[in-house]
Amino acid sequence: MNLLRYIAGRLVVYILVVIFALTVLFFVPRLGPTDPVEAMLAKVASQGAYMDAAQVDALRQSLADTFGLDGSLWDQYGAFIKRIVLTADFGPSLSMYPTPVMELIRNALPWTFGLLLTSTLIAWVLGNFVGLLSGWKPNSTSSRVMEGIAICLYPIPYYILALLLSILFSYIWKIFPLTTTIRGAPWSWELITSVVWNSFLPAMSIVIVVFGWWVISVKAQTTALKEEEFVRYARLKGLGDARILSRYVLPNAILPQITFLALQIGLMFNGSLITEILFDYPGLGLLIYTAVLQGDFNLLMGTISLSVIAVATATMIIDLIYPLLDPRIRHR
């Protein structure tokens, strides 16, 4: 019963948060010193596309539609929220007319999700393993070296690491491709290897940073847990190190990291956007960048609303599964 109330409470907060975020998105274009419609028209004109007066008027009207500039502010706000929440319709893309924005996003999302999920998982497994081992023997040389490396890796932003990796492995030693080019028929072996090969550097830039964090925090947790009564009991019972680590220390060391992950998702997402742009990786980040460069307002509003909603949703999902994972909270 308590669990149900917790879930209901979280859901209400989630809905409020999404509406709040959309409200922010709604007001940003209206706060600016310039009229966004005119700015977009200037951008389109500066790209050298010739349009006669009638076409400009038509475009102005269609932009006013997508900005939702008709009616009072309150009407506009209502229409904006309704359109995004109920229909998830962002209109056609202006630069790849008439492809709907949602279709472009649908093609890009798997790339971003795949990149973030895979690299977080790899970093999680490696980081927990190394962090546990070095926390178990915190004063050994290898443990200190590992922590030193982790401390030097963690504060580096993803995109800086992405730049470093591409300087080292694409320019100086030409091992990995500079930009992403995917080849091969759907579901063929060639396609899979091509995806893995092209995703390697972007993924590494995320893996390395997240790995650094995981080593630091799991090591600190493990060192503290080692002194706990229940660990001493396990040792006195005659259990081996491997079993104590995996069954007694690991579950307790991992749990606090889950809430951290919830707070970190936004930052990870920010980082992956720039990484994608630097590597020409066909995910949401590159789509946002294309939208900015082309002055494609529909695409921009769609991608940004969706990324804000996605991050809020991911945060909520982590919050929701946390009590399922932690029996101490579940039984409270």
Binding site: L16, Y154, P157, L163, I167, N270, I277, V292, G295, A312
Partner: protein
């Protein structure tokens, strides 16, 4: 100060040294620049490092070394201002929420949670795209403050909540001390160390987010920051031309500065928690 460092962890020393080096680099060296390093064609183009140009020159005829000092100065100023405002606002609102409770707490907590869920960079990209392609540094700073105060506020609120129930706070209350005095004298010492660590961390986040925006050309490209240096280098194909020092110097500067800042912030928080334990 001497007492502060007496039993500080080694990482704090290392971090402080690194950060001081960068502060000297960014705060003092720009005064000695031979001219405005931003102006194009004031130096021969595409030079390798030499006695006259320590880190070589860019394809635009700028001296990389002096450009880097200007970039560091601007990035540090931005980071410090963002961190200063975020920390002050965050600590104040966090204390208010935790200490006052009731509807004020509920409203403030909602805004903290909501703002933490919203990724900053997409919003900044949207603003940049709508406001004419590039964002001026003060606007970037303002937006960063808006999105970064909830981190300290949440933590401070949690501390203030537990503090309300502590005996010594009750004692102070019943002996007639005012709320303000209780906050300043009894609660603030508990959050000071953590706030300092958070302040330094926010400097890092501020510089990092501005640079991220700058690398894709959406921050103010006419100002030198660490990010815009990278942007110009990428834009002029520094990598294809093999001019690794031009693009490498801001990248290495960011890496070392951030490692320094992180060492200081984690060192400070380790130290302050050790001190709390010992009391």
């Amino acid at each position: 100060m001497a007492k502060f460092f007496a039993d500080a962890p080694f990482r704090l020393y290392l971090g402080v040294v690194l950060v001081i080096v960068f502060i000297i680099f960014g705060a003092i060296l720009p005064w000695f620049a031979p001219g405005d390093p931003l102006v194009w064609y004031t130096a021969p183009r595409n030079q390798n490092p030499s006695a006259a140009h320590w880190l070589g020159t860019t394809s635009l005829g700028q001296d990389v070394f002096w450009l880097l000092t200007y970039a560091l100065r601007n990035s540090l100023i931005l980071g410090l201002i963002v961190a200063g405002f975020s920390t002050v606002i965050g600590v104040f609102l966090g204390l208010a929420a935790g200490y006052a409770g009731g509807w004020l707490d509920r409203v403030l907590s909602f805004f903290m949670d909501a703002l933490l869920c919203i990724p900053t960079l997409p919003i900044l990209i949207l603003m940049a795209a709508l406001f004419g392609g590039q964002l001026a540094l003060p606007i970037v700073g303002l937006a960063l403050v808006l999105f970064n105060w909830p981190y300290p506020a949440r933590q401070v609120r949690a501390v203030a909540l537990t503090m309300r129930e502590r005996e010594f706070v009750n004692v102070a209350w019943f002996s007639g001390e005012s709320s303000v005095r209780i906050l300043v004298r009894h609660i603030f010492p508990y959050i000071a160390g953590w706030s300092a660590a958070n302040f330094i961390n926010t400097v890092l986040v501020g510089i990092s987010t501005e640079s991220a925006l700058a690398v894709i050309g959406l921050s103010s490209a006419q100002q030198a920051t660490l990010g815009t240096m990278i942007y110009w280098a990428i834009n002029y194909q520094a990598l294809l031309g093999g001019k690794y020092i031009w693009i490498g110097s801001p990248v290495v500067a960011i890496v070392l500065l951030f490692i320094g800042l992180f060492l200081v912030s984690s060192g400070v928080s380790m130290r302050s928690s050790a001190r709390r334990m010992s009391i």
